[in-house]
């Protein structure tokens, strides 16, 4: 069979193999807090000039966000408020969930457990139930459940990872509920990796001080998402698919009391009235901030931020974008797809073109990514020019994946990292014998809608959980804390929404907030053509787009 790697890359692999025996013997050095700062300031894309601007309107006016996000927040309603007849109600429920990923599904189950009957809960989502970032999580979920670990130790790790910019109450909720979440999963039938006595097999993640990463092979998100979705099905909780929300509805008192959905196939709108609404729309990877490829699912277009912001909720920490250090950089077909941090957790090291280790494999993500970019950037850009160049001109860093089997025994990679193994095997690359090439990929929305520890936003009747919300992870999330986040805050938001629904008495429904927001935009001189939410990214070929005409 032809070598999947071209000659220049193969030669570099020779150098990776040559340095391996020596590297296996030494413990890599960690960076000091000062050294971390320096890498971030000089090489993390967040700190690059010109990538962000101040918001012109809305509750977080004056805050910096990436241009790609500002373009959506400073945009007119996709649907003209005057075209919608709110009097014709299609669904009337107690708890409306927007987003059928992890947070949304957990919120639905929790609202149900808090006493809301299944037929008074409605999940609505953009694609199919479960098509989400949650489904894609590979590496694991954190929880301090081992004897030598504790929620306070976990707390400190979360803060350190987030550069101490996190909301303490949210972090506390996160670490404190973590063991209970894992126990709940165990009871629902999630197959965590365990030894024969039932002890969880846990490893390190970037920035953890204890081995508390729980996993289900490298399909951790798939396994959790499959189980919670199946549980929702067995309880008879309905999900309206292919119906993204395009606007929230508020009543004359300002409380959120439902949503306007838009059927992606028939293109008609649907009105849902609800006593409480949970926003669980996930993140923003598909905005391709600063042109980066992304690891995220197709629907990760930041819609929830747009909807909540227009309805009056504040946003925070959106100036910080998470780039995962190890996105695939070769072959071309899989550029941007994720290679889980678990691979480094199991011993694989990042190496430059000479096979040299240039950073500890498990620094917090932003630092690790910054170090990758420094290694790959040319000396003219202030970098070290030590990246590996692919035939299409991408530059990347080797991830020395064969170390996994050398450390843990032959067959480990294929067995415990089967998703990654499979992804490369399609292109005749065996990561158990050859390293794979990586480069940072746009991965996670660190910030989001401001919530309190119950999952309530500043807008009455509106709750949020999961990646759409902010504050939990400060300026940088650690691996394994977002699967945890969607469970902890999905649950808290579901319970709080159930409680709210029991006493809420929504008044006259209106879309005035959207109309008012449009007026504000007009006052600020924003181009009328700009509309949001974006719902789906645009990947059609240029030739088609240039010739497209709207005829029938």
């Amino acid at each position: 069979m032809a070598d999947a790697y071209p000659r220049s890359m193969r030669e570099s692999i020779g150098r990776v193999e040559a340095t391996r025996p020596e590297r296996m013997e030494v413990e890599p050095q960690r960076l000091s807090l000062e050294e971390r700062r320096e890498v971030l300031d000089s090489f993390h894309p967040d700190y690059k000039e010109g990538g962000k601007r101040k918001l012109l309107v809305g509750p977080s006016r004056g805050e910096f966000v990436p241009h790609e996000m500002a373009d959506l927040l400073e945009a007119y309603p996709l649907i003209d408020p005057d075209q919608v007849d709110l009097g014709q109600v299609d669904h009337e429920v107690d708890v409306l969930i927007i987003g059928g990923g992890g947070a949304g599904t957990v919120a639905a189950l929790s609202a149900h457990e808090a006493g809301i009957p299944a037929d008074r809960i409605l999940i609505t989502t953009k694609l199919r139930h479960g098509d989400s970032n949650s489904m894609m999580a590979q590496g694991g979920i954190q929880a301090a459940d081992k004897e030598h670990d504790s929620p306070p130790i976990h707390y400190l790790d979360v803060l350190g990872g987030g550069h101490f910019g996190n909301d303490p109450q949210l972090v506390r909720a996160l670490v404190n509920d973590a063991p209970e979440v894992i126990r709940w999963h165990e009871k629902l039938g999630v197959m965590y990796d365990k030894d024969t006595d039932g002890r969880m097999l846990t490893i390190h993640g970037g920035g953890t001080s204890r081995k508390r990463m729980h996993s289900a092979k490298d399909y951790t998100g798939l396994e959790i998402m499959r189980v919670v979705r199946d549980e929702a099905l067995s309880r008879g909780i309905r999900c309206l698919e292919f119906c993204p929300t395009v606007e929230l509805i508020r009543d004359d008192q300002g409380q959120v009391c439902g949503a306007v959905l838009w059927n992606l196939e028939t293109e008609e709108y649907t009105v849902v009235r609800a006593k409480a609404t949970v926003l669980a729309t996930g993140g923003w990877g598909r905005l391709h901030i600063q042109g980066f490829p992304t690891s995220n699912h197709y629907g990760a277009t930041a819609d929830g931020l747009v909807l909540a912001y227009r309805a009056g909720a504040g946003l925070r920490d959106l100036d910080s974008v998470q780039y995962h250090p190890t996105g695939a950089a070769f072959p071309e077909q899989i550029v941007g797809l994720l290679i889980t941090e678990k691979v480094r957790g199991m011993g694989a090291q990042p190496l430059n073109v000479d096979g040299a280790l240039f950073v500890h494999p498990l620094e917090p993500r932003d630092v690790e990514s910054g170090a990758f970019i420094r290694e790959c950037s040319s000396p003219e850009q202030g970098g070290r020019g030590n990246g590996v160049v692919t035939p299409t001109g991408m530059v990347g860093i080797w991830l020395d994946t064969p170390m996994v089997d050398i450390i843990h025994g032959p067959g480990t990679f294929k067995r415990e990292l089967s998703a990654i193994w499979r992804m490369y095997a399609r292109f005749d690359i065996d990561p158990a014998t050859d390293p794979v090439l990586t480069y940072p990929t746009l991965h996670y929305q660190n910030g989001g809608v401001v919530i309190d520890a119950t999952g309530a936003t500043a807008v009455p009747g509106l709750f949020a959980g999961g990646e759409v919300s902010g504050g939990i992870h400060g300026k940088n999330r650690l691996m394994g804390n977002s699967l945890l986040d969607f469970n902890v805050f999905g649950r808290r938001a579901g319970i709080a929404a159930a409680e709210w629904a029991r006493q809420a008495k929504p008044g006259r429904p209106t879309l005035e907030h959207a109309a008012n927001y449009a007026q504000e935009l007009q006052g600020a001189g924003v181009d009328r053509e700009r509309k949001a939410p974006s719902v789906l990214p645009e990947y059609r070929g240029e030739r088609t787009l240039a010739r497209m005409v709207d005829l029938i």
Partner: protein, 227 residues
């Protein structure tokens, strides 16, 4: 190689399009001008939304794969499956007894498996699908759970099965029974849940929550890292 030479011809639902070689089927369809709504989800091989059936020129056989993972080839005839209308049996985990093997009661068609192996051939994850259906027939739940673990529930197995078996739902049932009742419980986890419920860490967390940033940074610097 010139740009023209790089182009290949694919047939999307029977219609020919020229697209650059080396794209995934999904990206090739988008290049051709399709804005995907169905048949796309994670774009990373995890969600099973992009089940695709195809044929190669000069070959009468139908193949199946994931559009987001498989590379488009010259003279490929492509159709996506927008939705799989298979039925999930109605059951509730807590109403199943731990020692039960409810598979045959809930999915009796499993007994009709003729061991033709079509399901296994259809599986884009290359799982031993027929083997787990045979294991289900024997009541070997751990085996079903293990062999079906990497399933992305695309439904291609069920669409091809001459015996109308819904393999991916059978796998889901077995995995949940295994995870909840057959796998040994994590003792340390149960113990920790008791401690958090009792509030054993509350004081320490109170203290941390009140600390200034400087104090926290100091603590963080001094923390010991498990090796």
């Amino acid at each position: 190689m010139s740009a023209e030479q790089d182009m290949i011809r694919i047939y999307i639902m029977g219609k020919a399009y020229e697209v650059p070689g080396g794209l995934t089927i999904m990206k090739a369809m988008e290049y051709a001008g399709y804005r995907l709504v169905r048949g796309v989800g994670c774009r990373g091989g995890f969600c099973g939304a992009c089940a695709t059936v195809f044929r190669r020129a000069g070959d009468y056989k139908l193949y199946a794969d994931l559009a987001c993972q498989a590379t488009a080839e010259d003279e490929m005839y492509i159709a996506q499956i927008p939705s799989v209308p298979a039925e999930r049996a109605s059951w509730v985990l807590t109403e199943l007894a731990p020692e039960d093997n409810p598979i045959l009661a809930l999915y009796p068609e499993v007994a009709r498996c003729v061991a033709c192996n079509t399901c296994t051939r259809a599986c884009p994850q290359e799982l031993e699908v027929m083997d787990y259906i045979q294991a289900a027939l024997r009541g070997d739940i751990p085996q079903v759970a293990e062999l079906s673990f990497d399933c992305v529930q695309c439904g291609l197995c069920a669409m091809r099965c001459p015996a109308e078996i819904v393999h991916y739902h059978v796998g889901q049932l077995a995995r949940r029974i295994y995870g909840a009742y057959r796998a040994p419980e994590a003792g340390h986890l149960a113990a920790r849940v008791q401690e958090t419920a009792r509030g054993d860490f509350d004081q320490e967390l109170d203290k941390l929550e009140q600390m200034s940033k400087d104090e926290l940074v100091e603590l963080y610097r001094k923390r010991d890292v498990e090796s």
